[in-house]
Symmetry: C2
Subunit: 140 residues, 2 copies
Amino acid sequence: MERQTRQRAAIRAAIAQAGRPLLPQEVLEQAQREVPALGLATVYRTLRSLSEEGSIATVQLPGDNVRYEPAVSPHHHHFQCTDCRRVFDVHACPGDLQRLAPEGFQIESHELTLYGRCRDCGAPGRAQARADLPPGSCAC
Amino acid sequence: MERQTRQRAAIRAAIAQAGRPLLPQEVLEQAQREVPALGLATVYRTLRSLSEEGSIATVQLPGDNVRYEPAVSPHHHHFQCTDCRRVFDVHACPGDLQRLAPEGFQIESHELTLYGRCRDCGAPGRAQARADLPPGSCAC
DNA sequence: TTGTATGCAAAGCGTTTGCAGTGAT
DNA sequence: ATCACTGCAAACGCTTTGCATACAA
């Protein structure tokens, strides 16, 4: 059975209070304010077990490391800022994606990631967007 | 300037003839049938330069390693079979995604990945889907 | 007391880089 | 003859694992 430890509580709290999906390293830094001796291996082990028990959800963005967020929202997508790289929840969904599938392909689920400028970073100016994010710009 | 080598030709050919996005390791194995002494580092370096010059495109699926495909289609998405893990192009796009963004967020591009059963694998039966793919099933 | 959880360090895995030798121009 | 390209091995960043210790239960 699971044991209640200071480390586990700190990790839970870090994710619950972040307001956005966190990288394991970010979870570590946040949780260390509570438990300074906390190790990264413990963070990874705890994130895995919390994820398996359904307490937290993984956020997988194309070409980026896994992030974790509270497992509250039923279905949503994500927005990543091309400038500050932070990730935000998007509580909307295009819906009806089965129509996009080729003949004979049955869709069970989907992942959508939006890229652009977040509210803080504003429109692209002298500080241009990092070039190492997915292109995919289209007029759709 | 760029030089034409057997290695580069073999790598180009591997991607051009694959018919689906390939992992670097798959590119290596295919290209080694032409140039047995080919090294993985050369594959990575060549994939990068071909990608930068626009000859090939990167395919980044959430939580999976980068794949490469010919840079032909202008804008499309991908379908990954939850059974055989293969990736297929989807030449369709939901479009008009700006409406999904929160106030103040400007969308520049997007990535969409569809998951389900490909034509070959059919509906889920006794051979159940691998559990290590993104969930995200919804009624949208 | 018992055994899970922890911290540290080492190992894995995919990818990148340093360097000397190879080969296209 | 140049100098970009190649192969090998070492280095890297992120994640996982081995092992002895710490601490909930």
